[in-house]
């Protein structure tokens, strides 16, 4: 029976193969959200039904493997046509190497204008456009109101960093773990450092450091951010063994009510914490923006997160771009939003979001004056890795704020 089914499948494949003249290969990191995979299958099926001569194949790699294998894949005959991208310097390197193409000529202005400006900017350089953004991601504080209530903390009163430190101390006194995180993976801790830099100096400070103004990454906002992170670490706010916990473990601990706050990307809501809408922590999940720093130059409404999308590789057939435009059209943006999979990046499609959590995330992104991309992506693999390193070491007390800033600068120079 199995053989027959297999043979039938093979025949079907052969028939399909005979008709399909062009294939479009999509490569993306693995997602542990079955709903997102379903979304892809639905879009591909819809596209293939409308274009019987095109065959869209999607391939998944584990996240870390995706990053390390991509350079080789891009330079081989097995080069995919559309590649997942977190934008940032990695995309710039790919552009410089001529592995990604400028698609601006094939996009009409009306379509380009439909994107949120910040989202499109992540994938373009002046007039040139190297890919299309698809989703916006946001890092926020997840809060367990049940625990904060127990400690007598009013979440809505946490507005500044000092308020936040106060809440951490109060929670400690009440015997509740204030923060949970996954320090073995390091990047969950880099959210703290990045946000502190954003609050201290704004996105401009990061741009200035990259351009080598002032003292580069050793300028005041970076050192001050390191100091604030060291101050936080001195309170021992994290769960015991934070440095040996993976990101998933951190998320799971929060989901099990073992910590009051979790600083994490909105994806944790559906992907890792894995809950039906509103059900997490029996409705006591609240989200908070990262607190402001008094006297900090950064706008407190500024956000940290991701602009993720797809770049079109050099030599990809025109169908690849056509499919990408189909994938990222207003209708599918709305559909993804409706299913609660992501915050869309085409303006006016956010109203399709039905999950209250995602609605709140969307509102924060829309209200943000500048949406900074995760520093570990934005600054490229090497400098980004260093930011992750020093973030973990600031928590373990293995580096001083000055040395931390100097290490980033050194990595930047050696980039």
């Amino acid at each position: 029976m199995k053989t027959i089914a297999g043979a039938a499948a093979l025949c079907a494949f052969a028939v399909a193969g005979a008709h399909a003249e062009t294939s479009v290969k999509v490569l993306r990191p693995e997602s542990n959200s079955p709903e997102l995979q379903q979304f892809w299958q639905d879009v591909i099926a819809e596209y293939e039904a409308a274009h019987p001569d095109v065959d869209v194949e999607i391939e998944y790699f584990a996240s870390e493997a995706y990053k390390t294998k991509l350079p080789t894949m891009l330079q081989s005959d097995a080069r995919p046509d559309l590649i997942y991208s977190w934008a940032g310097l990695t995309l710039v390197d790919q552009v410089k190497a001529g592995l990604v193409q400028d698609i601006s000529a094939s996009l009409d202005q009306e379509y380009l204008d439909s994107f949120a400006p910040g989202a499109l900017a992540a994938f373009s350089d002046g007039e040139a456009v190297y890919g299309l953004p698809m989703t916006a991601r946001l890092v926020v504080f997840f809060a367990n109101e049940q625990l904060t209530d127990k400690a007598g903390i009013d979440l809505s009163a946490i507005r500044t960093w000092d308020d936040f430190l106060g809440a951490v101390a109060t929670l400690k006194e009440a015997g509740i773990t204030p923060l949970v995180s996954g320090g073995k993976d390091k990047w969950p801790l880099h959210f703290y450092y990045s946000y502190l830099v954003l609050r201290e100096g704004g996105a401009e400070a990061i741009r200035a450091a990259m351009e080598g103004d002032d003292e580069g990454f050793e300028s005041a906002p970076f050192v001050a951010a390191g100091q604030k992170m060291a101050d936080l670490a001195a309170l021992e706010p994290f769960q015991p063994g934070v440095l040996s916990a993976s990101a998933e473990q951190g998320n799971t601990m929060f989901g099990e009510g073992k910590g009051a706050f979790l600083l994490m990307g909105d994806w944790a809501y559906t992907q890792t914490i894995g809950v039906d809408e509103g059900e997490l922590l029996e409705g006591s999940l609240k989200i908070l923006p990262f607190p402001a720093i008094e006297g900090g130059a950064g706008d407190p409404a500024g956000t940290l997160g991701g602009i993720n999308g797809y770049a079109v590789t050099t030599g990809a057939p025109p169908e690849a771009l056509d499919f990408l435009k189909f994938l990222v059209n207003a209708e599918h943006q709305r559909e993804g939003a409706r299913r609660g999979l992501f915050v869309p990046v085409i303006q006016g499609t956010g109203d399709a979001i039905q999950v209250p959590f995602t609605q709140e995330i969307n509102a924060m992104i829309e209200a943000s004056p500048a949406h900074q991309i995760f520093l570990d992506q934005y600054l490229g693999a090497s400098v980004g890795g260093t930011v992750n390193d020093i973030s973990a070491e600031l928590v373990s007390g293995d580096v001083t704020p000055e040395d931390a800033a100097a290490r980033i600068q050194e990595a930047w120079e050696f980039r």
Binding site: L74, T90, L243, G385
Partner: protein, 308 residues
């Protein structure tokens, strides 16, 4: 005298060539050597030479390397505290392998080398860790030493102690790695010794016994000298293996905390490959390769020569 004989017997050069060609040896060489040589060149020499070249470039893996930096990668590596730590760690693995793992393996081998049903069971048990994939072993141990859920957590709870997280303790994380390495590989060396011990002639041991040698003296003066070749080989595997430790570390500590538990290879992976500094990674790889070759050559010269 020899010269006289030689001239009488020595065939001319052309005759030699003719004989060789017709004897079939030359044909065999010509037919059989190229495939092996091509494969060896393609998969060993070429990549090695490639890394040797990349090591002198600052290269992120895209296009061909153009930014020649001379020895900058090597200088940076030598000055990087994490690299120095990783070299220290690799040396620690060598030390633990030689001073703890091999004696343990030898002791167990001496206890269970005889062919009895009970011994077979023990052999299987001790050999089991070696059969496990390294990555699985690392994962299993990361659960065991987890202070919240693992065996260690049960222990501390039973003793009424604070939860302890060895893999987030800077001074002890690498010890955890070494424990796993010893646990994982002692069975392999034990098997080498068992095979060798079974080859020691029984009458020699009996003769020693009759002469009044104690159990310890038999081990010291008969069995260990007799299995010396096996010990030499196992030390060699142990040292080379210690230089290559990778898969156990990644799931267990991922090199942390604060990059304190890297070995040379996890350092290469983290700072060379994952951060897309391919030139830098190549420099580390070349250094490691040279170290391994030096160890291999010197070891062979010193210990593995055929007795003259």
């Amino acid at each position: 005298m020899a010269a006289v004989e030689m001239t009488a017997e020595q065939p001319s050069a052309t005759e030699k060539l003719r004989r060789r060609l017709t004897s079939g040896r030359m044909t065999a060489t010509l037919v059989l050597l190229p495939p092996a040589l091509i494969l060896f060149t393609l998969f060993v020499i070429y990549p090695l030479a490639g890394s040797g070249v990349y090591a002198f470039y600052d290269w992120n893996g895209y296009n061909t390397p153009t930014d020649f930096v001379g020895f900058a990668n090597f200088e940076r590596m030598a000055g990087h505290s994490v690299f120095q730590q990783s070299v220290m760690n690799s040396l620690k693995v060598i030390a633990v392998s030689l001073l703890v793992q091999l004696p343990l393996a030898l002791l167990l081998a001496l206890l269970i080398y005889r062919r009895t049903p009970e011994n077979t069971v023990f052999r299987l048990i001790f050999f089991l860790p070696y059969i496990l994939a390294e990555i699985a072993a690392g994962l299993i141990w990361s659960f065991i030493v987890d202070g919240n859920y693992g065996v260690v957590a049960d222990l501390t709870r039973a003793l009424g102690l604070e939860p302890y997280f060895i893999t987030s303790d800077r001074s002890w994380a690498f010890t955890a790695v070494m424990v796993v390495i010893v646990w994982k590989y002692f069975g392999f060396h034990m098997m080498i010794y068992i095979a060798a011990l079974q080859g020691v002639p029984k009458d020699m041991i009996e003769a020693a016994r009759i002469e009044g040698a104690s159990r310890f003296e038999v081990v010291r003066h008969v069995q260990i000298p007799m299995i010396k070749p096996a010990i030499i080989v196992s030390v060699f595997f142990s040292v080379i293996g210690a230089l290559q430790v990778f898969d156990v570390v990644i799931p267990l500590t991922n090199g942390g905390p604060a990059n304190s538990s890297h070995t040379i290879v996890t350092y290469l992976y983290t700072f060379g490959l994952a951060r897309l500094k391919i030139g830098y990674g190549s420099a580390i790889g070349v250094t490691l390769f040279i170290a391994a070759v030096l160890v291999a050559v010197f070891y062979q010269r010193l210990f593995m020569r055929k007795p003259a």
